[in-house]
């Protein structure tokens, strides 16, 4: 019965999709692979990878800070995670886009350089590099900044869970050998935490790919969703271009999911293989000992 209902509904839906003029599949196919859309795909993938790399880096730093005995360091990390987990990504990205309007230039140089300079009567403002706020804060960099900052907060929690999964005896053994806290983290704890950290990071990467569509808030004009929307609006073929975006995200996400599947399987298999190989070595050496 349920199967029949599902079959009928599916058929009705397929019929609607195929025959309704609004979908205009031939227009979609003609435009789905044109240069601006492909450029959008490239930008989206690049943004996903870079935001994840930065986010993982920020997450590791925050997770280690959270374990610091210094309450200021620990507190700063807590505040960061609280702040960036509490605001929606779309709002954060809008703010990042707006930063270019709030401040026209960003200087990299001596802190309070211009104040110091006026105090000393210098004409320079002691800046080493100054950037036009609209150049960096608009577009790709602002988007990357927003996504990476936000991702860092989520990755911090994942890394923290990974670190917590490692037996405290490991840190004690490392300390007893004279290893510092940082060295212990880098050489002993984090490598073991990876088994716990890797699978949820795969999920985060897929979520990140989809969240690049939020870059519309900035906007990042060469990103996939912006491009398909722009073409749709310009040609009044809104639905076909929405379908094009949908199919692209489906395809890209699926590729990541397949990648994740094999990555996790490889991790597990690698472990088993190592076990198996060593088992064989053991058996052989025992065999050898017996024969002697």
């Amino acid at each position: 019965m349920a199967t029949a209902v599902i079959a009928v509904l599916t058929a009705m839906f397929a019929n609607m999709v195929m025959t309704n003029k609004v979908f205009n599949w031939s227009f979609m196919l003609d435009n789905m692979f044109n240069a601006p859309v492909l450029e959008g795909v490239r930008t989206t993938l690049l943004m996903t990878i870079e935001a994840m790399i930065l986010g993982v880096g920020i997450g590791i730093v925050l997770a280690v800070m959270r374990l610091s005995p210094n309450p200021i360091v620990n507190g700063a990390a807590w505040l960061y995670v609280w702040f960036f987990r509490a605001i929606p990504r779309y709002v954060l990205l809008t703010v990042c886009g707006g930063l270019g309007i709030f401040y026209s230039t960003y200087r990299i140089g001596v802190p309070f350089g211009s104040q110091l300079a006026s105090l000393l009567g210098l004409s320079s403002d002691l800046s080493i590099l100054s950037l036009n706020g609209n150049q960096i804060a608009r577009g790709f960099v602002a988007g990357l900044l927003g996504l990476a900052l936000s991702e860092g907060a989520y990755m911090a929690e994942i890394v923290r869970a990974g670190i917590a999964s490692v037996d405290t005896g490991q840190q004690e053994a490392a300390s007893a050998l004279g290893m510092s806290r940082m060295l212990t983290m880098r050489r002993i704890v984090l490598p073991q935490a990876m088994r716990i950290i890797v699978p949820p990071t795969g999920n985060e990467t897929i979520a990140m790919l989809k969240d690049t569509s939020l870059l519309l808030a900035i906007p990042v004009t060469n990103e996939l969703f912006f491009q398909t929307q722009a073409i749709g609006n310009r040609t009044f073929q809104i639905v076909p271009m929405l379908m094009a975006a949908l199919l692209w995200y489906l395809a890209l996400s699926s590729v990541l999911m397949v990648g994740q599947f094999f990555l996790e399987k490889r991790f597990a298999r690698g472990f088993d293989q190592r076990q198996a190989r060593l088992k064989i070595m053991q058996v052989e050496s025992e065999h050898g000992a017996g024969a002697m």
Partner: protein, 250 residues
């Protein structure tokens, strides 16, 4: 080599160490026995500053552990100095605590390379020699999960020796082992003792204490109840609490 003066340590409201005094001479095998929860592990962990002491003085090789004395005030040492002190004190744990992501050889090489900044070649040569010495020459490439408990503990001893310590701490090194594997670990420890290593050993192996130990203390409820030559204390315990404990374990 180790001198403890009136060591106190509490966890929250629980007083675990209540005025421990003892002295370990260089080259001595110093055994600590006592019932569960008496503070044996806690005391051992104070010796390499894995636990902070609340009061008292603890010296290793003449140096105050974990603190610096300036005038008549004690200042807590910086992390670097604590690490430097720990390098000279090896520790072997009840549950081995080998690094599971590293092979036996890498476990032994890790600290010399990262902490003492030795070259890979030198560290590897030493690690091979140490694994050979604990009878595991043919198990170098194996990971801890592939080794028996006794083998793991012997790798752990080699790992501690790789830092060329002047003092070795053992916290019930054979308690987690199947009975038939205890002997191989005790043999390695006996060898170490014969070579003159200073060792502080928390153990329930009374046979080992009697045979290899130079001194023995019985601890209960955070104090040293009785101290002396292992043979004397184990054969003729004077204190009632020692008698009660020994009648249960022997």
């Amino acid at each position: 080599m180790v001198r403890a003066e009136q060591i106190y340590k509490s966890f929250g409201h629980v007083e675990v160490l209540r005025g421990i005094d003892l002295e370990v001479a260089p080259g001595e095998v110093f055994c600590i026995v006592g019932p569960s929860g008496s503070g044996k592990s806690t005391f051992l962990r104070c010796i390499n500053h894995l636990e902070k002491i609340d009061a008292g003085r603890l010296y290793v090789d003449g140096d105050l552990v974990g603190y610096k004395q300036r005038g008549d005030r004690l200042h807590e040492q910086r992390e670097r100095d604590v690490c430097a002190q720990r390098r000279d004190i090896g520790m072997v744990f009840q549950r081995f605590n080998l690094f599971p992501h590293l092979s036996a050889l890498e476990n032994v090489m890790e600290a010399p390379i990262r902490v003492r900044k030795e070259s890979r070649a030198v560290a590897q040569e030493q690690a091979v020699r140490l694994l050979d010495r604990v009878g595991l020459a043919d198990r170098r490439a194996m990971y801890p999960s592939q080794l028996s408990g006794g083998q793991q503990q012997r790798v752990a001893i080699a790992r501690a020796l790789a830092m060329q310590p002047k003092l070795m701490l053992f916290d019930e090194p054979t308690s987690a082992l199947d009975p038939e594997l205890v002997g191989e670990v005790l043999d390695v420890m006996r060898g170490l003792a014969e070579e003159g290593m200073t060792m502080v050993v928390v153990t329930h192996e009374m046979g080992f204490a009697r045979e290899v130990g130079d001194a023995l203390v019985f601890m209960d409820e955070g104090v040293v109840v009785e101290a002396g030559k292992p043979r004397e204390v184990l054969s003729n315990p004077r204190h009632r609490r020692t008698q009660a404990f020994l009648s249960k374990v022997l």
